[in-house]
Amino acid sequence: MVQVHFTSHLRHVAPGGVVTAAGTTIRVVLMDVFARHPALKTYILDDQDRLRVHIAVFLDNEHIRGPETMDHAVRPTSELYILQALSGG
């Protein structure tokens, strides 16, 4: 199972601590989390399920960027960090 961490700024809508989720891409993993924590979804994705511009995604210590971010492959042992990008401050 993928380990997902959310920025502490989302603690009022995100699950506390690490969440485990299933999926082979970042999109599928996040949708698995959102299915259990629906209030979190609009904080990370926009109306069209695109990643919000100022959300930063780190997968196994790599900063994943660009239009294909959501389709990036993840491994069952991956660790995913969903953070607020400094560009949005």
């Binding site: 990370i44 069209q48 959300i55 959501m70 949005g88």
Partner: protein, 361 residues
């Protein structure tokens, strides 16, 4: 007079109360979060607040106990389009620019104006929202473009006091539109507006006008005033036509307020046009007409003169139901009120966060 003020700022919603000793801060909500606009009912119990979080998008909250507790609501959402998750042009909510009650005969119903130009309706105090298809699918909407923002912003919603199915909206940059059937169809309402900055053949195109803010006189609803990028405009024939008005100091600005009973009386907060956007000569002034725009008086008593950079945004000027009490909030965090129609202003605070909107509750 109204004794409660909602101040929407870059760092939260501030509620001020009028006391025998003047306006006093009562409470702060959503501290640290940008609040684009807020709306309260007549009793000040129900409050709807729109946030625009830099990272996490537009959020909506509601209180039914005057701000003691809040419930997060699902914000208005643009319909998904096929392949939208990979289409940069597919619409998504960028900001909430207007919240208005839909009329006394529609309790709990709200209109919401947004960037990128969609109008939403809720019949249940904001719990659920529906995009107004009539306006969104109107072919002329393709001519709209952003003004001050990347995308068109629907910032003004005037619900006609004679008939709540008659609603006028204004857009930067998309002119004005009016519906008489509750939003099913929309007719042009900006003939006569002029955009001098456009190519000659486009200057009077009603669909590209940069109306900064439009208000309707509650007692004489045939009369509307607009502060436009190009200047000041007035309609006295229920939006069939507009005529341009020139005010002293500068006709450029964002905010406009109309007297609730007297359609000839309106207030403006001029600024140096148009890329500079600060008070002309550093003097904060308000211009007021009492004769429908034939003449204006420059009001400055109580306002800073010299080296002031306060800009008042389109929702930064509010008037109460008496027409005597106004409030004004600026980009540099100054808040003023007047109880005599602007003859003299009193500073409430000069160190609030940048103010986006003020409203009497």
């Amino acid at each position: 007079m109204s004794n409660s003020l909602l101040i929407s700022t870059r760092k939260g919603l501030m509620i001020y109360r009028r006391t025998p000793k003047g306006w006093k801060h009562k409470s702060t909500h959503f501290l640290g979060s940008p609040v684009s606009v807020a709306l309260a009912d007549a009793k000040g119990k129900t409050i709807i607040v729109a946030l625009n979080l830099g990272h996490f998008g537009v959020k909506l909250h509601r209180s039914v106990d005057a701000g003691a507790t809040w419930t997060e609501l699902a914000p208005p959402q643009y319909p998904k389009v096929e392949g939208g998750e990979k289409d940069d042009k597919a619409p998504a909510l960028k900001g909430i620019w207007a919240l208005e009650w839909a009329g006394p005969d529609k309790p709990g119903a709200l209109w919401c104006g947004t960037t990128p130009g969609g109008l939403f309706y809720s019949s249940n105090l904001g719990t659920t929202w529906a995009l107004n298809d009539g306006l969104w699918t109107m072919p002329e909407r393709q001519k709209w473009f952003g003004g001050g923002t990347e995308h068109p912003a629907l910032h003004s919603i005037c619900v006609d006091p004679r008939n709540s199915n008659r609603v006028a909206i204004a857009v930067s940059c998309g002119g004005a539109r009016v519906t008489t059937d509750g939003g099913k169809t929309w007719n042009v309402g900006s003939h006569g507006m002029r955009a001098a900055f456009m190519p000659p053949d486009k200057q009077f195109d009603p669909d590209i006008q940069d109306a900064h803010m439009m208000v309707q006189c509650p007692a004489k609803p045939d009369v509307y005033w607009t502060q436009h990028h190009n200047g000041i405009f007035r309609s006295v024939d229920n939006l069939k036509s507009w005529h341009e008005i020139t005010a002293p100091v500068s006709s450029f600005g964002f905010a406009v307020a109309v007297h609730p009973k007297d359609p000839n009386t309106a207030w403006f907060v001029p600024a140096k046009k148009d890329e500079d956007r600060y008070p002309v000569d550093g003097n904060v002034i308000v211009t007021r007409t009492k004769d429908g725009g034939k003449t204006f008086k420059v009001l400055k008593r109580g306002l800073p003169q010299g080296n002031a950079f306060d800009l008042v945004y389109r929702h930064g000027l509010a008037i109460d139901k008496t027409g005597k009490r106004l409030a004004m909030g600026s980009t540099t965090g100054s808040l003023w009120t007047t109880d005599n129609g602007g003859d003299a202003w009193k500073l409430v605070s000069s160190h609030l966060p940048p103010i986006y909107a003020v409203r009497f509750a």
